[in-house]
C-alpha cells in the first residue's frame, strides 16, 4: 500500500487519539465511581441526581454531546464565570471538549458497571472489615474497592472499546486525530478508500490491544484465580 508520505501524519493522529482516549478514561472513571456512590447512597437527592445523569446521557447521541460542549460550552462556562465576577472570554478547544463529552458519556455507563459490581459484594465483607476495627472509609478502600475493581474490569474494558471508537467523533469539531489526519491526506491524494481503510486498520489494532490489556488487567486484579491455575 502506498501512503505517499502521509504515514507520519497518521501516526501523529494515532497519538492524539490515544491521548484523548486515556484522558477521557481517567476522568470518566471518576464520574463513574462518584455516580455509583451517589446511586447507592442514602441521600435521596444524590440518588435522584445520579439517576437523572445516567438516564439523560445514555439516551443522547455522543455526537450531540461533543457538538453541544464544543459550540455551547464556552457560552455556558462564561455565564457561570460571570456570576463569580470573571468576565474574560473563555474558549474551549476541541481536545478539552472531546475529553468532557466522552468522559461524561463513559461515566454514565461506568456508573451502572460500578453499581452492579458494588452490589455483588456480600454484606459480610463490610461487616468483617468493621469487625476487624477498620473505619468505614478504610474498609471501603482496603476491602471493598479491590473486589469491586475485579468485578468491574470486564465491563469497563468493553466500555473503553466503545470510548476508543467514539474518539473518532471529536474529529468533527476539528481535533487532529486519526480521522482528521486521514481526511487531510485524502484532500491531497484523492484516495479516500485507501486512507479510510488504513484508519480503520489502526482503530482495529488499537481495539485489539485494548482487548489484550483488559485480559491482562483481569489476571492482575484476580490473584486467587491466577494462583489456583498453577
Amino acid at each position: 500500500m502506498d501512503l505517499q508520505g502521509f504515514g507520519h501524519l497518521l501516526i501523529s493522529g494515532t497519538w492524539v487519539t490515544i491521548q484523548l482516549a486515556l484522558a477521557s478514561l481517567v476522568v470518566g472513571l471518576v464520574f463513574g465511581l462518584s455516580g455509583a456512590a451517589a446511586k447507592l447512597s442514602k441521600n435521596r437527592f444524590a440518588r435522584w441526581l445520579a439517576t437523572g445523569y445516567t438516564t439523560l446521557v445514555r439516551g443522547l447521541p455522543e455526537l450531540l454531546l461533543v457538538l453541544t460542549i464544543y459550540f455551547g460550552g464556552s457560552q455556558l462556562l462564561m455565564w457561570i464565570a460571570s456570576s463569580f465576577g470573571y468576565d474574560d472570554y473563555i474558549e474551549i478547544g476541541p481536545f478539552v471538549a472531546g475529553v468532557a463529552a466522552l468522559s461524561i458519556a463513559f461515566g454514565a455507563y461506568a456508573t451502572e458497571v460500578f453499581r452492579m459490581a458494588m452490589m455483588e459484594i456480600p454484606d459480610g465483607q463490610w461487616e468483617s472489615g468493621l469487625a476487624c476495627g477498620m473505619s468505614t472509609r478504610r474498609t471501603f478502600f482496603r476491602i471493598i474497592l479491590p473486589q469491586v475493581w475485579r468485578l468491574a474490569i470486564p465491563g469497563l474494558g468493553n466500555l473503553f472499546q466503545v470510548l476508543l471508537k467514539d474518539t473518532a467523533l471529536v474529529s468533527v469539531v476539528g481535533l487532529n486525530d486519526i480521522m482528521r489526519q486521514s481526511q487531510v491526506a485524502i484532500s491531497a491524494t484523492k484516495e479516500p478508500f485507501t486512507f479510510f481503510m488504513v484508519a480503520a486498520c489502526i482503530y482495529l489494532l488499537l481495539t485489539a490491544a485494548t482487548t489484550g490489556f483488559t485480559m491482562f488487567m483481569e489476571r492482575l486484579a484476580n490473584p486467587a484465580a491466577r494462583e489456583s491455575r498453577r
Binding site: L56, L76, A168, M179, F196
Partner: protein
C-alpha cells in the same frame, strides 16, 4: 447569557422533520440489518470452522472500527474506484441517504449477529433434541424452533442495540443528511443559538428512545409470554367434558 425560548418554538417543526428522517434511518437500516444478521449468526454458530471464518472477520471488522470510518468508507471511499463509478450501483452510492443506510445496516448487522449467536447458543439443548426427536429436518428446526426462540432470548439485548443505533444515526449529519442532529446544526448556523437548539434536539432524542424502550417492553411481553404466564383454575361449574384432567384436578 440570554436564553431564547422563541427560537426553539419557531424552529421546532423543522427539528421534527429531522426527527422523522432519523426514525426512518433507524427503521430501514434496522430491518436490513436483521436480514443480514440472521444468516450471519447461523453461520457464526456453525460447527464447521470454514463456515465460521467469514462471519468472524466481518463481525470483528465492524465491531472494532468506529461507525464514522464505516460511513466515510461507503460515502467517500466508493468513489475512488472507476469500476464503482461507472457501474449500475452509482446512482445509489452517490446519494448520502443510501450510503448512510448501507453503513448503518452493515454495522448493526455485525452487532446483532453477535447477539443472535449468543442467543442461539443459549437455547436449551433439550429443545433442539426434542425437535430432532419429532423428526424435524434441519431447515424446519431453524425456521420453527431456533429463530423464534433465539429472537425471544435476544429481544432485551436487541432493544439496547436499537437505542445504540438511534444514537449512531446522528452521524448521518456528517455526510450532509438533515437528520435531527443535522437539522439542529443547520438551524444553529442560521441563528447561533447552540445551547438552545442542541437541548431541544436532545429532548427529542430522549423522547424517541423512551418510545423505543416502551415498544420493546411490549414486544418482550408478547414474545416471551411463557415467562409471564400464570395458571388460573377453570371455573368449578364447567362442563366436565371441557376439563383437562392434566391441568386442574380439583
Amino acid at each position: 447569557m440570554t436564553w431564547e425560548w422563541d427560537v426553539i418554538w419557531q424552529y421546532f417543526p423543522r427539528l421534527l422533520e429531522g426527527a422523522w428522517l432519523t426514525m426512518e434511518l433507524v427503521l430501514v437500516s434496522g430491518l436490513i440489518g436483521i436480514t443480514i444478521a440472521i444468516p450471519l449468526s447461523l453461520m457464526r454458530a456453525s460447527k464447521l470452522p470454514w463456515v465460521r471464518v467469514f462471519p468472524f472477520i466481518y463481525i470483528y471488522f465492524f465491531r472494532g472500527t468506529p461507525l464514522l470510518v464505516q460511513i466515510f468508507l461507503v460515502y467517500y471511499g466508493a468513489s475512488q474506484f472507476d469500476a464503482v463509478r461507472y457501474s449500475i450501483f452509482w446512482p445509489i452510492l452517490k446519494q448520502p441517504y443510501w450510503c448512510a443506510i448501507i453503513a448503518f445496516s452493515l454495522n448493526t448487522a455485525a452487532y446483532s449477529a453477535e447477539l443472535f449467536r449468543s442467543a442461539i447458543q443459549a437455547i436449551p439443548t433439550g429443545e433442539i433434541e426434542a425437535a430432532e426427536a419429532m423428526g424435524m429436518s434441519k431447515s424446519v428446526q431453524v425456521t420453527r424452533i431456533i429463530i423464534p426462540r433465539a429472537f425471544g432470548i435476544a429481544l432485551p439485548a436487541y432493544g439496547n442495540e436499537v437505542i445504540l443505533m438511534l444514537k449512531g444515526s446522528a452521524l448521518a449529519s456528517t455526510i450532509t443528511l438533515l437528520d435531527l442532529t443535522g437539522m439542529a446544526r443547520t438551524i444553529i448556523a442560521r441563528t447561533y443559538t447552540p445551547l438552545e437548539m442542541f437541548l431541544a434536539a436532545g429532548m427529542v432524542y430522549l423522547a424517541i428512545s423512551a418510545v423505543i424502550i416502551a415498544l420493546f417492553r411490549f414486544m418482550e411481553y408478547r414474545f416471551n409470554r411463557y415467562q409471564y404466564y400464570h395458571h388460573t383454575d377453570m371455573p368449578k361449574n364447567l362442563d366436565p367434558l371441557l376439563r383437562d384432567p392434566h391441568i386442574d384436578q380439583k
